[in-house]
């Protein structure tokens, strides 16, 4: 999948929020891509735009999202419905609120299956749901329960099951573990890794938790202020972050082994996307800011096998 020059704007009373600003991005078949950044940096918006699920007033104002050569941005409604769930699945931050409280679990599965597979009987759909639950390690009896009767981890697994039941090849996971406690989180990440191998999934893991990314991701994309700061192999980025923002981000994670004397925090606050800084969006907080950073926005360049947008590197 490729994204070219994508911009997403939210026109609000006081101006326009440029949530995603001219982003170019590329995803490889079968990889786990970690998409990290502070809240409000546009990472979730980017994820939502891929399925065209932006809430009004959010709007894709320019660019293309190419999925297997077809442009999602200009796809007719009927085809995007086909795509959602069947080819590209998405799971969300809060499993507690992602299931309709008034519908039983089996109703969720049956509805999803029947919406995409014409001619399927309810009985067959129910059997498919049972199989899916079993493969996720959940007893099929849970199908007849209501969401509020299940635990958070269970619900998140059911969300995944709902996402995978139609056999998609891309899974967008938007902060899937934020609402879970630590132990459940670890189990869930194991499950995700397992499913990724079993179903040959491509996964976009959107998170602000660098630990999650370290555990799962093959590659990492760091976003800042609606733009991509750095893209590279997970190992490379953790060992040798190039972009000053990535460096700051990594320095601010507590690390038990390294016995850091003091946790570093990044000075300043995320940029105002209604009125972003001139030039590089990061320059007001950047320790290496130069004259050119204030004037001109850096483009993405290739350096040491990764993509980076910073004047330090050209």
């Amino acid at each position: 999948m490729e994204i070219e020059h994508l911009s997403v704007h939210f026109p609000i009373n006081i101006g326009t929020v440029r949530a995603v600003d001219d982003v170019n991005w590329e995803l490889r078949q079968g990889e786990v891509m970690g998409l990290v950044g502070e809240s409000g940096c546009g990472k979730s918006t980017l994820g939502f735009s891929i399925l065209r699920l932006l809430r009004p007033p959010g709007k894709i104002v320019q660019g293309r999202i190419l999925y297997k050569g077809r442009d999602i941005v200009r796809m007719p409604e009927r085809e995007i419905l086909e795509l959602r769930g069947k080819r590209i699945a998405m799971i969300f931050q809060d499993p507690l609120t992602s299931l309709n409280p008034l519908f039983r679990i089996d109703q969720h599965f049956i509805e999803t299956l029947l919406a995409h597979e014409k001619g399927l009987t309810r009985k067959d759909a129910y059997r498919r749901a049972e199989e899916m639950l079993e493969s996720l390690g959940i007893s099929p009896e849970k199908l007849t329960e209501y969401p509020h009767q299940l635990s958070g981890g269970m619900r998140q697994r059911i969300m995944i099951g709902l996402g995978l039941i139609l056999g998609p090849d891309l899974l967008i996971a938007d902060e899937p573990t934020t609402a879970l406690d630590v132990i459940v989180e670890a189990q869930f990440l194991d499950l995700l890794a397992d499913l990724q191998k079993r179903y040959h999934l491509t996964i976009i893991l959107i998170t602000h938790n660098l630990g999650n990314v370290a555990q799962l991701a093959d590659r990492i994309t760091v976003m800042y202020g609606g733009s991509i700061a750095e893209v590279g192999e997970a190992g490379d980025i953790f060992e040798n972050p190039l972009h000053p923002y990535t460096q700051g981000l990594l320095a601010s994670i507590p690390n038990i082994k390294l016995d850091q004397p003091k946790l570093k925090t990044m000075p300043g606050s995320p940029p105002d996307l209604v009125d972003p800084p001139q030039g590089c969006v990061f320059h007001p907080r950047c320790p290496h800011a130069m004259e050119v950073c204030r004037v001109k926005k850096p483009g993405l360049v290739k350096r040491n096998g990764r993509l980076i947008s910073c004047w330090l590197y050209g």
Partner: protein
């Protein structure tokens, strides 16, 4: 299920103080305020001793406190007493008129719900478009039309100008009252005896009054549904359903509406009082022989026992509806357990 039964009993017990208080208020209002049933009964020129006799017979010369206690005791035995004006048990007078009111209010409620909920849901789905603003305007305007004027205008348009619908009563002249001996609910009765021409006649008579009632109250439900739908449409599970490729219409009218319906339902219990008030006015406008008309007739005649009886029945009716609403609520929402 056992818990639900317990809940229902508790709720029923809770309506007792409400009925008691309303009863007391009405009792005080009726007895303390000026106006005398005896003089309105016998006419202004009856001789003094006749009036005195009548007062004695009706128990009106006893101290107020005694009258009050007697009346309460009577009610506790579920005895509404006898009309002061006619030789007639109050319970019989009310039972004769009750089905007409129930039929009218239930039909009105159905129309209100359908119109209000669907227009409100549609407006929420199309929010900030011309259609949304149009529906909201409809909601406000229709809310401000007094129910009696709406009734008169509908009578004028459909009954007089177009001359396609009857404007008064429950039945036409060819349908005889003897047809309706089983339940008093005419729709039910005619279906039971399979008299479909009579059923048609009854439905024709029902259209204008129930549409009047339904239209006026639909405004409240438009607004209520719209705001609740807007909340629900923002919920995570709506986006999640969308991400699974479920059709938009299904999401709005199945997922979202079902959730939005819960707060609407709780409001329905409260709005039912409004519906009863509307029914009194509609009955007067359409000469509909129900409890509202009975109440007004007896108020002019100062027939205390009948007025009190009607107030009790209306209070119980309102309480009953709010109970039914709560039960439906428990059925719809799996999270509620009593």
């Amino acid at each position: 299920m056992k818990n639900l039964a317990k809940y229902i009993v508790t709720r029923l017990l809770l309506t007792i103080p409400m009925v008691f208080i309303l009863l007391s208020i009405v009792f005080i209002v009726l007895r303390v305020m000026p106006g005398d049933p005896v003089s309105s009964l016998l006419g202004g020129h009856a001789p003094e001793h006749v009036i005195e006799q009548k007062r004695e017979a009706l128990g009106l010369n006893r101290p107020l406190a005694v009258q009050y206690v007697n009346y309460l005791w009577q009610i506790c035995r579920l005895d509404f007493g006898e009309s002061m004006v006619f030789k007639q048990r109050v319970s019989k007078a009310i039972l004769e008129k009750l089905p007409a009111t129930v039929e009218l209010t239930l039909c009105g409620m159905l129309i209100t719900l359908f119109l209000g909920v669907f227009l409100g849901a549609y407006a929420a789905d199309k929010r900030r478009t011309a259609r949304d603003y149009g529906i909201r305007l409809y909601g406000i305007v229709v809310y401000c039309i007094p129910v009696y004027w709406m009734g008169l205008m509908l009578q004028l348009i459909f009954g007089i100008w177009l001359d396609i619908l009857p404007i008064a009563g429950r039945t036409g002249p060819r349908v005889f009252a003897s047809t309706f001996e089983k339940t008093g609910f005419y729709i039910l009765d005619t279906i039971l005896i399979r008299d479909f021409s009579a059923l048609l006649d009854i439905l024709q008579h029902l259209i204008l009054p129930s549409v009047t009632l339904g239209l006026v109250l639909s405004g409240i439900f438009v607004r209520l549904t719209r705001t609740n739908m807007l909340d629900v449409l923002r919920a995570d599970y709506i986006v999640a359903a969308e991400a699974r490729g479920i059709r938009h219409r299904v999401i709005v009218y199945k997922h979202a509406l079902k959730n939005a319906f819960i707060p609407i339902l709780t409001m329905m219990g409260l709005q039912f009082a409004l519906l009863m008030a509307g029914a009194v006015l509609t009955e007067t406008t359409f000469s509909w022989p129900g409890m509202g008309r009975l109440l007004l007739e007896r108020i002019y005649l100062r027939d205390y026992p009948t007025i009190q009886g009607i107030i009790i029945v209306i209070a119980l009716f309102v309480a009953l509806v709010s109970l039914v609403v709560d039960i439906i609520y428990a059925i719809i929402d799996p999270r509620v357990r009593y």
